[in-house]
Symmetry: C2
Subunit: 266 residues, 2 copies
C-alpha cells in the first residue's frame, strides 16, 4: 500500500479542507482488519530488531481533535508492540512545575531511548494549538515555538531518533457522532468531557493552528494527515507507515562480543 | 482455576525446594493458551473499569533468575493490556545518581498513578538479592531494607494501590536449556549475557536471598511463587491471578457530573 500521498511535503502550506477525512482505500472493514493484523505481525519482528540493536529510536507523535482517535491508535496499533520496548507518554494540561520551565522541558524528559519505540499521546504541538486558539500566546510566540520545535526535532534526529507525526483527520460530522455516542452509551459516559464542546465551537481556529503546525514537516520528522473517519482505515494506514519506516531504518541484530561455540554452561 | 496454593502465606518461611517448577495443572499447551486468551479478554474489560474509575492502582512486580521469563510475561501477559492504562518500569543496575539516594527513591518515582496498571520488570527486591549474594550489603542492612520495603508497600496499599509480586520459579536444568538455546540460535544471541553464568554459579546463594525476600508476603502485597518451567502455564496462572485481583478490587465506572440527556452537540 502506498502512503506517500498522506505525507505533508516539506515547505508545503497545508489546507486541511483539501484533505479527505473519509478515505477508505476502496477496502471493506473486514479486509482492512486482516491486512492490519498481517502488518502488525511484521511490525513485531522489526520492533525486536530495533530493540536488540539499541542504536536507533522511533518516536510516534499523535495529535487530533477531541474524539479524533488518539487513544484508539494507542490501543489498536501501539497495543500490538511488545511492551518491553515501548514507552507511552500522555501529555495533559501542564502542571505548575512544568509551566515554570520552557515548553520542551517536560517533552524532552520523555523521548524514547535507543532501541525503544516512544509514543506521545498529545505532545509539544499542544503548545502551538490549544494555547493559540485560546490566546494564551501571541503569534510571535507561536512562531518562535514552531522554530524551537524544528530545532528540537533536528536534535533528536541527529541522535538516531526517527520521528513520525500523525494528525488524525476527522470531519466535524464524525466528531459529532462520536461525542453523541459517548452520551448515548452509559458505558462511555466516563469518556465524555463537557470541555470538548468548547473546543468544538472553536473548530475553525483549531484548523488554522493545525495548518501552521503541519508546516513543521521535514524528511526526518514528517507529518502525515491520516483520514480518520474510518477507524479501521486509520489503523491500517498507520501500521503501514510504521512498517515502511522501520524497514527503512533497517535495524540489525548486533554482533556478539563472545563466541557462542566456546561457552559451556555448567 | 484456583491459585491460592501458589500464594506465600503471611509469616510463612519459604523453602523453594518444596515448590514445584514444572507444574502444568494437568493441561496441554494448546488448551492452556485458549484459556489464557479468554482470561485476557476479561482482563481488558476490567482494566478499562480501573482506568475509568481512577481511584485505585495495580502494581505488578516481576522477579526471577536470569532467563526466568520476566520479559516473556511482559510480552505475553502484560502485552494484552491497553497501553493507555499501563506503565512499564524496567530496573537496571542503578546509576550514580540513583545510588546517591536511598534504594527506594528511584522505585517510588515509578509507581503507577490512580487508574493505572504498573509493571516492575525487576524491582526494589534486587536490593536484597543481587546485592546480598555478592556481599555488597551485610545481613543487618538486608534486614533493615526488608523492613523498609514492608513499610513502603504498606504506604502504597494505604493509598489504594494493590500489589502483586511474582517470583517466576524455574529449575536449574530449565535455566540451562534456555541459556543454551540463546547460544544455539543466532537470532537469540543478543539475549545472551555472559554475566548470567556468574549468577548461575551462585544459584544456592540466590535461593537463600529469594527465600528471605518472599518473607515480605502480606495480604495487601502478596508474593506468588509461579511454576515457570512451562511458559504457557506461567502465563495462564498469572492471567488468572490478575483477573481475580481486579475483580476483587471491583473498580466501577464513575458517575457523571452532567446529565447526558441535557447536552446538545451543535
Amino acid at each position: 500500500m502506498k502512503t506517500d500521498a498522506y505525507r505533508v511535503k516539506e515547505g508545503k502550506k497545508v489546507k486541511l479542507a483539501e484533505w479527505k477525512t473519509d478515505e477508505d482505500g476502496g477496502l471493506e472493514q473486514h479486509d482492512a482488519k486482516v491486512l492490519t493484523k498481517e502488518l502488525q505481525e511484521q511490525l513485531a519482528e522489526w520492533q525486536e530488531r530495533l530493540y536488540a540493536e539499541r542504536k536507533q529510536a522511533l518516536l510516534i507523535v499523535l495529535q487530533a481533535r477531541d474524539a479524533g482517535g488518539k487513544d484508539g491508535v494507542v490501543k489498536h496499533v501501539v497495543g500490538s508492540f511488545n511492551p518491553n520496548g515501548l514507552t507511552i507518554a500522555p501529555f495533559k494540561v501542564p502542571t505548575e512545575e512544568e509551566l515554570a520551565h520552557d515548553f520542551l522541558w517536560r517533552i524532552h524528559a520523555q523521548v524514547p531511548g535507543k532501541g525503544m519505540i516512544g509514543v506521545f499521546n498529545r505532545s509539544h504541538y499542544e503548545d502551538v494549538l490549544v494555547t493559540r486558539v485560546y490566546d494564551m500566546i501571541d503569534d510571535k510566540t507561536a512562531k518562535a515555538r514552531l522554530r524551537h520545535i524544528r530545532h528540537f526535532e533536528e536534535l533528536l534526529a541527529d541522535s538516531g531518533t526517527r520521528i513520525l507525526k500523525f494528525y488524525l483527520h476527522i470531519s466535524r460530522d464524525e466528531q459529532k457522532r462520536r461525542l453523541q455516542d459517548r452520551l448515548d452509551e452509559p458505558g462511555k459516559h466516563w469518556k465524555f468531557n463537557p470541555g470538548d464542546l468548547k473546543d468544538r465551537e472553536h473548530w475553525t481556529q483549531f484548523t488554522a493552528a493545525y495548518q501552521d503546525a503541519l508546516g513543521t514537516s521535514t524528511a526526518d520528522a514528517p507529518w502525515y494527515v491520516i483520514p480518520a473517519d474510518h477507524k479501521w482505515y486509520r489503523d491500517l494506514l498507520i501500521s503501514q507507515i510504521l512498517l515502511d519506516t522501520l524497514k527503512d531504518m533497517d535495524p540489525k541484530y548486533p554482533k556478539t562480543s563472545f563466541d557462542p561455540a566456546e561457552i559451556r554452561i555448567e
